[in-house]
């Protein structure tokens, strides 16, 4: 499975650059609804020692989605040995407000804002 696509959002993975991209609007109802996306990301990261998650075109994420990202980051931390990079946009308010909090869970997490 290389992507999940709906009318509202797209989740894709490029194995060559070990980069997953989430774009669009995500306001699913609760963690259960987010599980397929998290499973997709965890499968994508399985074989990698370096993993980039590009969120620059993710215009909206509700707090359940932030919870999903928190779970993902914690799982990477527990797995160990993965250099994780999150890419955000200075033009998307929720990213400028909330992404930095994920470093509370994993201080070695790199945030790249452009």
């Amino acid at each position: 499975m290389k992507e999940i696509q709906t009318d509202d959002y797209l989740v894709s993975f490029d194995p060559d650059s070990s980069t997953a991209i989430i774009r669009g609007f995500l306001r699913l109802e609760g963690m259960e609804e987010y599980r397929p996306i998290m499973e997709f990301l965890l499968t994508a990261v399985e074989e990698s020692s370096q993993f980039t998650l590009n969120l620059r075109d993710l215009e909206f994420l509700n707090s359940s989605g932030i919870s999903m990202l928190s779970m993902f980051v914690l799982k990477i931390r527990e797995k160990g040995g993965v250099k994780l990079v999150l890419q955000g946009s200075n033009k998307v308010l929720w990213q400028t407000k909330s992404l930095k909090n994920l470093q509370r869970l994993m201080p070695s997490l790199t945030l790249e804002f452009t």
Partner: protein
């Protein structure tokens, strides 16, 4: 629970404002899944509506202008408040969820009202008391760890509004039936 209890900064009544907008939602019988996307649309509408009152001038230390900042912040906060009201709302009370946004010179006030089961209200009050008596930074770290471990009840939505958007909260709980309470949440956002 006593008849009426207040936590945080609760202005009662909310000061008069020349610009305001109210939306009512039924907690009706249509499956929640079918209605869910409507809540996002409503939140975006509120964001667009109130953003139109603000100029597109620059905001210090930000690449996002004032109008777009208001639009995105209102949309995020309204969405979280509506989601919570629906999630914890009590359909059997036959009362609507109401969200009103009031505009002032430098502040927006969101007022959200919904019926809930009294047992739910008591759980929420326990969270509020813990929040108000904790150091916000430490509490946030604790709750985000809790969320990341898959433990429920972290109320991360409320914490993101307070910690990330600088919103202030007030709550009022009123007993309106043997099993039912009415919750009113006020959220103050500096713009």
């Amino acid at each position: 629970m006593t008849h009426s209890q207040i936590f945080g900064e609760f202005l009662d009544p909310v000061p008069a404002s020349e610009e305001y907008l109210t939306l009512h939602f039924s907690l009706g019988s249509t499956p929640r899944k079918q209605r869910w996307s409507n809540y996002g649309l409503s939140a975006d509408f509120l964001g667009d509506y109130f953003a139109a009152f603000f100029p597109g001038d620059a905001v210090a230390d930000s690449a996002i202008n004032r109008r777009d900042t208001v639009k995105a912040a209102v949309s995020y906060i309204a969405n979280e408040l509506i989601e919570n009201a629906v999630k914890y709302g009590d359909e059997s009370a036959n009362l609507p969820i109401t969200i009103t946004l009031y505009l002032y010179e430098k502040t927006l006030i969101f007022e959200v009202r919904n019926p809930t089961q009294r047992s739910r209200a008591e759980q929420y009050q326990a969270f509020i008391q813990e929040l108000l008596s904790s150091d916000l930074d430490e509490f946030y770290t604790r709750q985000i760890e809790k969320t990341a471990l898959g433990e429920g009840g972290s109320n991360l939505g409320v914490l993101t509004m307070i910690n990330d958007y600088g919103a202030k909260f007030g709550w009022k709980f009123e007993t309106i039936g043997e099993e039912t309470a009415q919750v009113t949440v006020l959220v103050y956002l500096e713009v």
